[in-house]
Every structure is written in C-alpha cells, then in structure tokens.
Subunit: 281 residues, 2 copies
C-alpha cells in the first residue's frame, strides 16, 4: 500500500509557524504536497478569486516536500492543487489546513480561510481537516498539538469521513496542564459584536478599524467553546449543505404565495452525495 | 405602526443595476438604508476585513434614500450598518442583498458575497434574504423579478423567519414565458470543476485565470437547480450552523481516540438560539 498523499494548505500564508508545524507532523504520515497562500489570508471565509488572475510559484524552503505558493485564497489553493498541480495524477488522500494562529470555534468557522480550504477538500470528495490553535500570537507554542494532530489525521486516513463532511479541530492554548482529550462537538451558539474604531488619516479623511468582542450565548457542554474552555481538543464535523432543512416545512405551511397544487415533497435531511453510500475514503 | 426599516446591500457594488432595482422595489415597502461595497466583491464568500482598515463614505446618487459605500466586503457592510451607522438606533426589520448579477444556487452559496450579507443579517437575529438572477450580464433584465421580490419580502416582514435562517432566492433569466411560481427548495448537490488557463505576462512570468464548468449531480426535483431549470423562483432557507449533526454519532462510535468515560451526549439538531423560541420578527 503506498504512503498516503497529503495536501497541506492554510490561511496564514506559507511562511507561518503553524503550517511548518503541520508539514512536519504530516511528513511522518505520508507524502506531502503543500499549496498555500503567498501572504496572510485571515478572515477570507470561502472567498475565491474570480475577477483577477492568479500566480503560482514553486517554494523551495521545505526540505523533502514539494511546495507551491499561490497569490489566491485558501480555497483557490486547494482548487489549484487538484486541478492544476495534480491534474491527471493521483489525488490527495486527505486535505489538512492550518495550523491556524487563532481560534476558529463557533461562528468563526464562517469567516475562516483555514476551514474554507478543508471544506473545499470535502466538496471534492476528499476527507479534510482544518486545525486551529486558540492563540493568535505569531510565535505561538504548537508543541501540545502535534500528538493529537497525528492521531486525528490517522483516524481520518484509517476510517474516512462521512460524505460531505470536513472536521473543524481547535486546540486550547498551551497550558501548564496537559490537554484532557478529544471531544466531538457541535458549533457553539456565539457571535462577534463589532465596534468600529474611527480615525482620521493625515489628509483628514475618516477611516475605521473593525474590532469586536466575542459573546457566547451557549450554556451547553456539547459545543466547541465549552471544550476549549475546559482544555479539550474540540472536533466539529462541518458540512457545506447550508440548507436549513427544518425550515422548509415551516415555509411550505406558512407562506401564502406558493402554488400548492404543484408542490413537490422536499426530501428529508441528507448529506450531499450520500445516496452513493455514506462513506468516502 | 412605523414603516419597516430595510437594510440593502450586495456584492456587485453600489453602482450595479441589480442593487438599483432592489432599492426601487424596497422603497415601496419601507424606509431604506443602503450600505454596499464601493467596488465589485463577487466571489468573496463570507470574507471580512481583519488586517486592513475600512472606508465608509456617504453616497448621494439615490433619491430619497440614505446610502453609504464601504471599501470592505458584503459582510463588513452589514456589520458597519448595524454597529456604526445605526449604532444606538432602531435596527433593520429585514436585510436584503442583491440583486446579484449571476446565479447563487447550489454550492455557489458558499462563494457568494450576496448571501454572506444575508447570513450576516441572520447572525444578528434579523430576517434576511439574498436575491440573485441567473444572468451574469452587466445590463441583465431584472423586470420579471420585481413582483416576486416584493411578495417574498412582504411574506418575510409579515411572518418572520425561523431563527438563524436566511433565504437564498434565485431567479431564472428573463424568458418569453412568465415565471411559473415560487418553490421552497434544498441546496442542490452540484459543484464546479475548475480549469486553470495558463498565460505568460510580457516578462515571461506565468499566471492563471480560473475558469470552470458547473456539474450537477442532483437528480431530485426538490432542489434549487431543478427549480431554476424549470422556470420557478427557488427559495432555499440557509443556516450558519455548519455542524453536520448526523456525523457526530458516527465519529463518537467509530473513533478510537476518545475517552468514553467522560463523553457527553451531544444534543440533537437545533437551530442556534432556537431555545428562545423558534421565530424572530
């Protein structure tokens, strides 16, 4: 059996400490291909580059690893890896993204470039994992994450993931106590409350910095915020089917502008593509 | 009862024909505030501006409507509207985004700046709708959409939406036959297959244009692709809880790296915030 082919990307850019840590762990598990942004892309969500062209250059700093840097977003990187770098060749067995310098728990998953690379993997039918450390510093200590990253990636390589699912894995910052273990969680119900810090440039023109505070409404113990606050590794399985399936029947019952004579029954919840069997591997 | 306050944004920028059409329809339904990007932001997904500052300038081209143009993404626009322009004031009764010049059906919802503005509204607890026309041309004919946009927005103002839900509304391009009606749909199982068109700049350096073709795997008649192909207006209720709830029990059963002695039961599916009652209005 050949060694697994592992595609690595991130959103902090190819020079970040987080991706270097991730590459080093992945080299123990398989053959590594890196396609990552050539500059930081934090907060890019699931952006793709549609109105501009893209650059892709080989990057020679990683020993024993084929690596490219791309001028686009994390989602662009995964698309270029698959449809240009690996075109007509063996495709990755797993896509891993990160390790992000900063939390991607709860609502932050929507704004996360790290997770968009992983979700792009899932869209392509490849098991995928985004890793984030809840520590924003440039030289954050990632040492406590390595053992868990290896275990989680091995589980995914061994067992696959349900179709259409990518994992959002977050780690607490390094503490004096070791991590307590891994929890499978749901996305916490929380949000950011923004404040706009108004300033004036040397020409007297107004500009703003977006700042904000995080507000957690969730009292549960089954969510990612709780796990991180209690020194667990949080694993949230995420999907790219955004349909609020529960809302379909509510709208069908309540709305007065539908032609009910022709109404089709909308099928119950299903993971996209699950009709071909539940697992991808 | 005061007229509703309607916040309008989009991703094609404040000068596009689509937002002008939407503003004109909304003026019949309530008081309108526009906060929209000062330049096209297509494909921005749920990006926000975290590493740069933002500009916000009043725009004076719309008669009888307070309007601002922002240098940021669609999600930034909704955040600035709420937390700067309307800070300490009455908040919008509905957020509408669009009308997008181009389809946001199926997987495109992830890449859509139009929908990120709507979903940002839903995160803030405000009913929200993204409108898109499946016609990419700059001077597309939006005339057949106006009656339906008015009806759908009135339904949402009258009945509210389930908590945490934003609507993704797509219209077929203008055809000789009138639209057949409105369908409540799920997101179709489809994806883009990219191709990278390689070129060389005058210095001999390689660059790429991302192109791609859309592939629909979905055989159902209950999804948005089917509705558009059959000349219906598609309405997909979308959520920002990305948790693949079905996958939680699969991982909890299969994974060998969990400490089962301490395992918490993960609660069943719920719309974020739904513990406070199902509806927002």
């Amino acid at each position: 059996m050949p060694r697994p082919l592992i595609l690595v990307s991130n959103d902090d850019g190819i020079t970040s400490k987080g991706i270097l840590t991730l590459i080093n762990v992945m080299k123990e598990l398989g053959d590594v291909l890196v396609v990552a942004p050539d500059s930081p892309q934090s907060g890019m969500g699931h952006a793709i580059t549609v109105g501009e062209s893209l650059r892709l250059e080989e990057n020679l700093v990683f020993k024993g690893v084929k690596a490219y840097q791309c001028s686009g977003t994390p989602a662009d990187c995964v698309k270029m890896a698959r449809h240009f770098v690996l075109k007509g060749q063996r495709q990755p067995d797993v896509v891993v993204s990160g390790i992000n310098h900063g939390s991607n728990t709860s609502i932050s998953v929507l704004y996360s470039g790290t997770m968009s690379a992983a979700i792009e993997g899932a869209i392509e039918g490849t098991p995928a994992i985004g890793f984030s450390l809840c520590d924003y510093s440039h030289d954050a200590d990632f040492s406590h994450t390595e053992e868990y990253i290896k275990k989680i990636t091995k589980q995914v390589l061994d067992k696959g993931l349900p179709k259409g699912v990518a994992l959002n894995v977050n780690f607490p910052p390094k503490q004096s106590q070791p991590l307590k273990g891994v929890r499978i969680c749901r996305q916490a119900n929380a949000k950011w409350v923004e404040e706009f810090d108004q300033r004036f440039d040397p020409n007297g023109r107004r500009y703003f910095w977006m700042a904000g505070s995080f507000v957690n409404f969730d009292k549960g113990e089954d969510n990612d915020e709780w796990a991180i606050a209690n020194n667990y590794v949080s694993v949230v399985p995420c999907q790219f089917d955004l349909t609020a399936h529960q809302a379909i029947s509510i709208l069908n019952e309540e709305w007065e502008i539908l032609d009910r004579s022709e109404q089709t029954e909308v099928s119950e919840y299903r993971i996209p593509g699950a009709e071909d069997g539940l697992k991808i591997q």
